[in-house]
């Protein structure tokens, strides 16, 4: 099965064409579907499964942008999205798979919804960061509009993820909120994108700042996902 993950990483790395990018995403989806069928649940436990899930999310969430009217001929953007997805696929490879049954406390649709939506939002924040980078280098305003759209949909997914996480927490732990580093950084990320979306109201003179913040937001996402789990002591980690 791991060969599918390697194949998708390889395809992402050479995904200058949209069709290659779509093929890479299909391979990643097939890998996750295989894992899911073998485990009888969504593969969302442990670094390998979550990193592969994030790579697949980047692939899926980037597809509407790659196939959009404005970016359909932009092979560099397609390859950049491929590079981002490949990075997470390659990071997933060294980790062992966790094939244990789901711990009872995680065996609920609220947990799966919470985690899956969080990864979709991280993926969209990643696409938004790339669009921000392209805007800074090329200056075409449609890139900033696309960045805003990616971030707004990502923010919506992230907000739904927080609501479903609160429901899960209430039924699993007795509270919808715990003061842990993970939750603090989740709040920081949500506040950051709240600020980012409000900044749009300030007008075009803030365009470059807006694009830069789109990039900073993705760095905070990655710290919230990987940094907190690896650097800080928290029960709320993969």
């Amino acid at each position: 099965m791991k060969w599918l993950l390697m194949l998708s990483a390889g395809l992402y790395l050479v995904s200058c064409r949209r069709i290659v990018f779509a093929a890479a995403t299909a391979c990643e989806l097939a890998y996750l579907a295989g894992r899911g069928l073998a485990l009888g649940r969504l593969p969302l436990i442990g670094p390998q499964d979550t990193l592969a899930f994030l790579a697949c999310s980047v692939g899926l969430m980037a597809l509407p942008f790659i196939f959009s009217r404005q970016l359909k001929d932009d092979n560099v953007f397609c390859w950049s999205c491929g590079g981002l997805a490949a990075l997470f696929s390659l990071l997933a490879l060294p980790f062992p798979t966790l094939n244990m049954p789901l711990p009872p406390v995680l065996d609920t649709m609220w947990f799966e919804l919470h985690v899956a939506l969080a990864f979709f939002s991280y993926a969209l924040f990643g696409v938004a960061a790339l669009l921000g980078g392209f805007f800074l280098s090329r200056g075409s305003r449609y890139l900033l509009d696309l960045q805003y759209r990616a971030a707004l949909v990502g923010y919506s997914f992230f907000s739904f993820s927080m609501v479903s996480g609160g429901i899960w927490g209430y039924y699993a732990w007795g509270t919808y909120w715990l003061w842990t580093p993970k939750e603090l950084w989740t709040s920081i990320l949500w506040l950051f994108y709240s600020m980012y979306l409000h900044l749009r109201i300030k007008g075009q003179e803030w365009d470059r700042m807006f694009a830069c913040l789109g990039i900073v937001g993705f760095l905070i996402s990655i710290f919230t996902y990987l940094g907190v789990s690896m650097l800080m002591r928290s029960s709320h980690s993969f």
Partner: protein, 227 residues
């Protein structure tokens, strides 16, 4: 002068700065001993923890609460100002309202929440918070081949004869309290780690979350139509 203060309080700039400072306070808190899981912050209602924790542990939370209070006022006044103007969408204001309800929910839980941790065996009588005796009738569960628990539960009997079962993700609710089974040891003498919670902010938090979601979906639909 009052007009100037009001204009400052309704300004977008103030909201953006407050969000920035709030993020900084929470980020610093996440690295401080008071924000980690080794502090007792999750074991006590937040207002009690704030009253008793040393300021070196809790300063970031005091700062965050103060910033949140001004941010809530800023959100309320901005919504009022925007709704005064005709033809404005209500979607962002539903999101503001949802956010405010969640903030109120935290305040309600911070003052009226409760958590009790108990280690029990079969036959143990728990003193419920209102002193009603609750007897743990049975602790049971299943494990996989490796011995890892795949499900477990505790059966309870209340003074009025009512019986109930609590298992992971399926707490038993009684008189406004949730009874949770956290861990079991299925040895010859089964034992369980149980918790009793009261979370009075849960309902307003859910209402706030749903309002925010409705506003968010409306905003997405409006943006889609506009494009």
């Amino acid at each position: 002068m009052l007009k100037t203060i009001y204009q400052r309080l309704t300004s977008l700039n103030l909201g953006l700065w407050l969000l920035t400072f709030l993020m900084v306070a929470l980020a610093l808190g996440s690295f401080s001993p008071g924000g980690g899981e080794n502090s007792r912050i999750n074991d006590l209602p937040l207002l009690i923890w704030l009253r008793h924790a040393p300021l070196s542990y809790s300063w970031w939370l005091w700062l965050a609460v103060a910033l949140m209070a001004v941010l809530a006022l800023n959100a309320i006044l901005c919504s009022i100002e925007a709704l005064r103007k005709k033809g404005r969408s209500i979607a962002p204001h539903l999101m503001h309202l949802g956010f405010l309800l969640i903030a109120v929910a935290h305040l309600v839980s911070a003052s009226g929440g409760m958590k009790d941790v108990l280690q029990v065996g079969e036959g143990t009588v728990i003193g419920f918070p209102d002193r009603e005796p609750v007897r743990v009738e049975k602790i049971s569960g299943e494990t996989d081949q490796s011995g890892m628990p795949i499900s477990y539960r505790a059966e309870l009997r209340f003074a009025n004869g009512e019986v109930g079962t609590t298992s992971p993700n399926h707490p038993f609710f009684h008189k406004g309290f949730g009874i949770y089974v956290k861990q079991v040891d299925l040895g010859p003498m089964p034992m369980a780690l149980m918790e009793i919670h009261r979370e009075p902010g849960a309902l307003p938090a859910l209402a706030g979350g749903l309002l925010f979601t409705v506003g968010n979906l409306m905003l997405l639909a409006q943006r889609r139509k506009r494009e």
